[in-house]
Symmetry: C2
Subunit: 348 residues, 2 copies
């Protein structure tokens, strides 16, 4: 393989519209970034071949790695990862483990990708828990929210590491200088929050992060800070709430139009005016969400990912490898002796 | 006092625009519901008098109850309630305690209203924790979300009672038949959630509630269920996130208009089309949020409440008293022997 290119393995069988959407996304990426990436499609060879023929793209320089099984959205994550040894997710992550790929992108079963990544790649040394980092739009730019679903119950030291990883991600990938990190809570004062946040506040205050204190629900879309830290339960609820806004607004406008057809013009202009609202509120458009803290580069895409979203995820994987996000996280977690000491004290 | 009218005490000093907004709201309510309500303005007699003169409403049949102090938004709730014995909040709640009023409405410091209500009115017998119940719009109608801030950390038996109280509120005030109750979580399956939700699921399943299982962040605005139960930490974050959507959309449109002035027409029509989006996402427009579980009827309004919002809160207080919400909650919590037994087992 060409060492100068970033080698990315794609789960061709993952997602509601796979393999079509993944193969199409790979073609878009190949055309746009062919000089920078080398793509391997992982999955059923026959199905992938059919898609490539359908899209008249057999000539493109893809690698294909056959995997005889695939994991569905309904499969139980932990169980299936151990049972389906030759699934596209496991085979794809194996490529990364054996240094045949630099990154893995999947729109498949999120739980299975996480479980398989932990099993196959393991955690970065010192990383207590991996976290899914999602991007949300705000009045001031893109905000990184993490964790959005990997860990339903967290401890303060987990949140602190999420802050560290999110800060590096925001800095290296989104090019935010000295990212402002906030703890998602129910009041700005140090005394406001649940037990987890009250304890975490102290840890964050004593860390090397650019900690701006607690932020509230309203601060996410306001863009008060660049990195919003929360446990995966709260983060997932906020993310899914945000993703539902577009559908809600559409239904609101439809009702208006029904009442008064003159509003049809307004609805049409609304659609143009806010054309990208859906996209800007849908994390797949930011190219999926990285699973930070595992020993590799792993991007999780929305199950409903379009070809464009897959292409964006490939671009994100490329950016993360080029900017050495994983290495910087490793470095930071190892070198931040003060933080580690505090964490050890807390853990003991 | 006229027993046929619902007697409502108003915190004239509570809120960012008090006493002006409260006095104006009282005037609106008096004109609209004068036959049904008897209003007492609680606060600085001089200031209230000045507002009444300014609004040429000295002739209206308000009672005025002087209170020499008031609690600011910055005051520490617990501390100030004990310190300021003659605050408009304490005096207003005292009126209810001494049966001179049937309900209390305040747009003041939420923490202080809660603390004072617990201190002065106490809890309904059997109620473990009071909860703030907020209304959010959805594609299918109004959804009750609780708790939205009274309890940052909860136990399963607290959530179960929130479900019971929210269900009664939805049924009696919003007239929902057999309200569908959902637990806010990160997946529909019984196995998805944090520790609190996993434990609560079992309690809800064995209760007499019309429990529809877990709902996700996206289900709130979709209106999948009528009552969304969560702890006050999660609920407050979701509520404040929802309240920030309008500002975010406005900023999105402004940026568009800046890029292309033609969108100005779109923005104008958007404003008409979605005229009430701000209102529908702002809980003050539903007339504030009741504090359920305290032994009285207590409505908490947004600090930024307009006169219209105060009027709506008065209407809500009236509805709650007329529909005997408090009595029904009392009855249900006492009679639901099965639930109480389960709770006692959990508590022991």
């Amino acid at each position: 393989m060409n060492d100068e290119k970033v080698r990315i393995a794609l789960d061709a069988m993952g997602g509601d519209f796979a393999p079509a959407s993944v193969v199409e996304g790979a073609i878009l990426a190949q055309k746009e970034m062919g000089k920078d990436v080398e793509l391997t499609l992982v999955g059923d060879k026959g199905k992938i071949g059919l898609e490539l023929s359908r899209l008249e793209s057999n000539h493109l320089p893809f690698h294909i790695r056959h995997a005889s099984e695939w994991i569905t959205m309904e499969d139980n994550a932990l169980d299936v990862v151990k049972r389906k040894k030759d699934s596209s997710i496991t085979v794809g992550l194996d490529l990364q483990k054996s240094k045949q790929a630099d990154a893995f992108v999947s729109g498949g079963n999120t739980g299975a990708v996480m479980a398989s990544a932990l099993l196959n790649l393991g955690r970065i040394e010192g990383a207590l828990r991996p976290a899914i980092a999602s991007c949300l739009p705000s009045e001031k730019g893109i905000v990184v929210v993490l964790d959005v679903g990997a860990n339903a119950d967290c401890k303060p030291q987990h949140l602190l590491q999420f802050g560290v990883m999110g800060s590096i991600y925001s800095n290296l990938v989104l090019k935010t200088e000295n990212p402002k990190v906030g703890l998602l809570s129910i009041g700005e004062e140090q005394t406001k929050g649940n037990e987890l946040i009250l304890e975490s506040y102290k840890l964050f205050s004593n860390s090397s992060l650019n900690f701006v204190g607690n932020v509230e629900g309203r601060d996410v879309l306001k863009g008060t800070c660049d990195v919003v830290v929360c446990d995966g339960f709260v983060g997932n609820i906020v993310l899914k709430f945000a993703e539902s806004i577009d559908g809600f607004l559409t239904s609101l406008v439809k009702k208006r139009v029904k009442k008064n057809p003159l509003f049809r013009l307004g609805a049409f202009l609304l659609k143009i005016s806010l054309g990208d609202l859906k996209q800007s509120l849908d994390y797949s458009e930011y190219g999926g969400a990285p699973l930070l803290g595992v020993d590799g580069t792993c991007i999780i895409c929305h199950g409903e990912s379009s070809a464009k979203a897959i292409k964006n995820a490939i671009r994100l994987a490329h950016n993360m490898v080029r900017n050495q996000v994983q290495e910087k996280i490793k470095e930071k977690l190892a070198s931040n002796a003060k933080v580690l000491k505090e964490m050890n004290e807390l853990q003991s």
